[in-house]
């Protein structure tokens, strides 16, 4: 563990990593997005299930963000609150919780953008998948610092 990371280990099953990669490849050149269900222990956050959803960026009624002329599902992704609620119900039924989200960066590195930082919430884990020419590449995980000034990397441990 390096001093600059979140101090929390982040566990992901191989099958769930592959599901996220598949989702990123399917939606390329558009961004994919999904919800991570899991459990948290003292120093470990474990993803037990991924919940792929539709990128709701184009749903006006679900989108509170100001869209610039170059913004589209190719560089933006959004969770429809109704999908959030569905995932939350599923999670609670199974003794789990919404622990984070994933989205892809088509043809861009797996590093949080300024938009990612400004619109993130502390506590959640944010997984970013780079997809290059339709092929999944690097996957990273991040958690926003409490003061919301920066993202701290969360090393991903594949189970």
């Amino acid at each position: 563990m390096v001093a600059s990371d979140s101090g929390m280990s982040f566990e992901l099953y191989q099958k769930d990593k592959e599901r996220i990669e598949q989702h990123g490849a399917e939606t390329y050149p558009h961004e994919c997005i999904g919800i991570l269900l899991g459990r948290e222990q003292s120093d470990c956050r474990a993803v037990m299930e991924v919940f792929p959803i539709e990128n709701a960026w184009n749903k006006a009624e679900a989108n509170p963000y100001e869209a610039g002329p170059e913004d589209s599902t190719r560089n933006r992704s959004l969770v429809d609150p109704k999908d959030y609620l569905r995932a939350e119900h599923e999670a609670r039924k199974r003794g789990m919780d919404i622990v984070g989200f994933y989205h892809s960066h088509p043809d861009h590195p797996a590093r949080p953008s300024e938009f990612d930082r400004r619109n993130a919430w502390p506590w959640y884990s944010y997984v970013i998948l780079a997809v290059e020419n339709g092929v999944p590449r690097e996957m990273t995980a991040w958690v926003l610092s409490e003061d919301r000034s920066r993202f701290l990397p969360e090393p991903i441990r594949i189970k």
Binding site: R76, S77, L78, P81, H105, H108, N119, W123
Partner: protein
């Protein structure tokens, strides 16, 4: 009348780590007022300086966004569940590149 409010992970640090809280109220407004008077730190997370609910915070009564009901005047009963749903967005924010910078 008491109503259950579901608290999302990022806001539980303001509710003593509880993932749900039962508060009194007959409308969403009363429920949120009682919630934020009990847990004062939640107020600035939910409301902007103009006193209005932040646009990145969604309030649901069961499966419905109260923005499409009677907003904060939406009535609640004991069988209802009020959920605080954070807006979640991301994205590279950059126009598509011809070549990938990796």
């Amino acid at each position: 009348m008491s109503v259950k409010v579901i608290i999302p992970g990022p806001l539980r640090q303001y509710t003593g780590k509880s993932d749900s809280v039962v508060v009194k109220g007959q409308t969403v407004e009363e429920v949120l007022r009682n919630l934020t008077s009990e847990y004062g730190e939640l107020r600035k997370q939910l409301y902007g300086e103009d006193g209005k609910l932040r646009s990145f915070v969604n309030i649901y009564r069961n499966e419905e966004d109260v923005r499409f009901l009677q907003q904060e005047k939406t009535a609640v009963t004991e069988s209802d569940v009020v959920s605080i749903v954070p807006s979640i967005a991301g994205g590279s924010g950059l126009p598509p590149l011809e070549t990938w910078g990796g």
